[in-house]
Amino acid sequence: MATKKKTQRKKTFYSKRKICRFCANKDQLISYKDYNTLRHFISERGKIIPRRISGNCSKHQREITRAIKRARVMSIMPFIVAAS
């Protein structure tokens, strides 16, 4: 009866392919001490931003993740940011 087929919905999503900024700039190395770079890859709550949003390639996302986790241990980055 109420079988509306989902196949009818044909939305096309346009998305620009994001370019990994670390692939674009090979000289830039990722370090856990580099707060100013890592800062762009965490949310307001201090969570690591996923690759789908940050646009990093998998290799560099791994490096970023590792760097953020190391920075957290040394209190350079927060584990959590309390809600304001």
């Binding site: 190395l29 856990y32 001490k33 707060y35 241990v73 040394m74 209190s75 927060p78």
Partner: protein, 135 residues
């Protein structure tokens, strides 16, 4: 022989001379075990992103060195029982970077400057001092 990076957070009340003695002990240990210290890096007092041992501030110090892996355990022994050290971490250096490059790296200075900006009440004396191993 491998490259390592030792990062230390000292208690904010630790005097510079105390820090220098501790660091000297560590570098003595490294050189005694046929290793070599590549570079010292001081960030000075920074606000911690979360309290460690009820402290909201810490004094950051980084030491780059070459050493045989067993030396790390002895360094750890030195650090572990020192109450002036809030937190420490020893990491293997990126193999893509040679020791010479680390010495040359001064672009880290800008990073540190920005990091200092966000911690308004930091030591204004010297945000980044890169010392030669013998200094």
């Amino acid at each position: 022989m491998r490259g390592y990076e030792l990062s230390l957070i000292f208690h904010a009340d630790t005097s510079d001379t105390d820090i220098a003695t501790i660091v000297q002990d560590i570098s003595d240990l490294i050189t005694r075990q046929k290793g070599s210290v590549i570079k010292h890096e001081k960030w000075g007092k920074k606000n911690l992103k979360y309290p460690i041992k009820k402290q909201t501030k810490g004094n950051y110090y980084f030491l780059y060195f070459m050493a045989e892996p067993p030396v790390l355990r002895e360094i750890d022994r030195l650090i572990r029982y020192n109450e002036a050290i809030l937190r420490s971490a020893t990491l293997a250096l990126d193999k893509r970077i040679s020791p010479d490059q680390i010495l040359q790296q001064s672009q880290a200075a800008e990073t540190i400057a920005v990091f200092a900006e966000q911690n308004e009440d930091t030591d204004t004396s010297a945000p980044n001092q890169t010392l030669s191993p013998e200094a």
